[in-house]
Symmetry: C2
Subunit: 373 residues, 2 copies
């Protein structure tokens, strides 16, 4: 039988790793950033444009696709890849995070999560098994198990119960995996309580997954708390499997997580911020609404080779964003997605060449220096 | 001195004409449809995508660009072509239509129009001369003169006064034209009163413009009234100059206007309807929100070669439009713009081959037949 997922580490520099993940629908280099395509579209961008940014894997959302277009449609049209015309790998999150962020609509029990649709209020039950079935309809190449992510701050007892239940749910997920399925990643929880995190990692490692994610971070804690948690947790995850930090984050968070041994990332920041005119550059962030950009004929980022920076001036993007024009948010989105890919590719090259720490310091220096003008 | 605009008629079939307009920034075949790029962007589309639909000239809006980004910025960045990266011809409307559609904000006098910005309420004066200056800052290749378009129904006396004033304004516009300027088109008004229309056409023809537009149609009258007006007015416009029907319309209106001798068109319908999920096809219109499209794997229009139809299914576009995804309105916009270009190109080829009437009947038959499924 073909392996569902092969992971090869090409080089290690400190804790940082450069590698490659091979899925049934093609390979991607690590560290990897996955653009978020919640509803089967990376907001504003075509599949070809997403690929042109350098992305080789995207993330889609089990909860949202279950509600729209629904599994019956996904089954009828042959799965999400064919539906959206993306032939590369797709990772799907399990819905656990949505039940955390939409928690007033969700009730947790041992069987699973009962929730109401945020669209029409209809009631549904997601069990660990059902979540795998939905991801099967999507055609996910990397399925995430359903987990329970309690809101912080929480009592240690609450966190413990969530961890133990998430382990039982992970085991139930593994038990229903079928031959044709994609790979399956488990999600380690435990808040910022390192001993609990390590206990969860140990439980999940014993079950044996294709990869391991760290969930429940970047949910409001200070960056230093997140980094301290990663210091302890990332190296504890099996070294032979990809390590995925869910929902993180700013470019600096990604660089710091790579430094601590993380291989995979996703975040809505590059696409969500773009829609408000926020762009990320080699010299820090820029708000395209700023009046001083009105006649600035430079590209958003002089060091960038994306379509936006090769074609249009800051002045024009500023005008479009201020006028609420869709083409403006296309341009900021393409730039941000390209920049995030440039960050992870830069990290990979630095690790391969054994100069990760110098590269990392250069990134921080650029962001802190800002623009001379 | 180079002519500002050369117009060549290649063939005539009945009243329908096939020709070419050469501007200082390149040529376009007629009949021509100009996508509307009000604020210096054809909504949702990149300049390259607009060109790929077949469009060779776009329309921009003097009133809107005067307010945003303003002439100081346009002057600083070297005009609209450079600002938006569109190297082909741009026609700019004069603002007359905006003062009609935003009439509660505008006051007409002999000197010009005093109006308040729909954005921030600031007061401005547009004289015929000032409107030419603004179009000069834009870098317009075909400038439209300021005209007065009264709301219908109106007393004959009101219409007459508007016509006579529009003629005086047209003469004032011509008087301030400078050597480096683009071409200048006048706009014939007169509502559906044919005698008044003909009087206006005669007055404007005597002044001598590079082209002539018919304004003040498709403002609520029945299609048959518009066609009857065109029957009388279009042939009265100088045959050696391009004839432009402003703001029209549905594909059937464009075909009927071509049949009556019109050469140029613009309309927001393909882009505006697209944003609501409305698409135009060889088999009539389709609303992409319709539930019966949820699993329809056909392209929007089987006869279409646009990116949307070559790439994505109705089911996927339906999903995106229902979910409010920007990529969905990009797809419907690209399709509609391509379809409008296909209509005018089809008309041109039919005229060149002397089979316009058969082609025209075939278009109507297709729209009326609808879909077999």
């Amino acid at each position: 039988m073909t392996e569902r997922l092969v992971f090869r580490v090409d080089a290690v520099d400190g804790q940082a790793r450069a590698g490659e993940v091979v899925t049934r629908r093609g390979a991607f280099a690590t560290p990897a950033f996955m653009p978020v395509g919640t509803l089967g579209t990376v907001k504003t961008a075509s599949p070809g444009e997403v690929e042109a940014t350098g992305a080789r894997i995207i993330l889609a959302n089990t909860y949202h696709l279950f509600l729209r277009p629904g599994t019956a449609t996904l089954d009828a049209v042959g799965g999400l890849h064919r539906f959206m015309r993306w032939s590369g790998p797709i990772l799907t999150d399990s819905g656990g995070y949505q039940f955390f962020s939409l928690s007033r609509l969700a009730k947790f029990a041992e069987e699973g999560v009962t929730f109401r649709s945020h669209l029409d209020g209809t009631a549904h039950l997601f069990t660990p098994e059902r979540v795998i079935e939905v991801q099967r309809s999507i055609g996910s190449d990397i399925m995430m198990v359903l987990d329970q992510c309690p809101a912080l701050p929480a009592e240690r007892r609450t966190l413990e119960e969530a961890v133990d239940r998430s382990t039982r749910w992970a085991a139930r997920s593994l038990a229903v995996r079928a031959d044709g399925d994609g790979a399956m990643f488990a999600i380690a929880q435990g808040g910022t309580d390192v001993s609990l995190r390590l206990r969860h990692v140990e439980q999940l490692s014993e079950l044996g997954f294709d990869g391991y994610a760290i969930g429940g971070l970047a949910v409001g804690e200070a960056p230093e708390e997140m980094y301290a948690t990663l210091d302890a947790v990332a190296p504890a995850l099996p070294a032979t499997r990809p390590r995925y930090l869910m929902g993180v984050g700013r470019p600096e968070d990604i660089v710091e997580a790579i430094a601590r041994g993380v291989d995979m990332f996703d975040c809505v920041m590059p696409t969500r911020n773009a829609r408000n005119g926020g762009v990320f550059t080699r010299r820090g962030r820029l708000n395209m609404r700023g009046a001083r950009l009105a006649r600035d004929e430079r590209p958003i980022d002089e060091g960038c080779r994306c379509y936006t920076c090769m074609t249009h001036s800051r002045a024009y993007v500023h005008h479009l964003i201020r006028a609420g024009e869709v083409y403006g948010i296309r341009l900021t989105t393409l730039h941000n997605l390209t920049y995030y890919q440039d960050v992870v590719r830069g990290a990979r090259e630095a690790v391969l060449e054994g100069r990760f720490d110098a590269w990392r310091r250069a990134q921080h220096a650029g962001w802190e220096a800002g623009e001379s003008s």
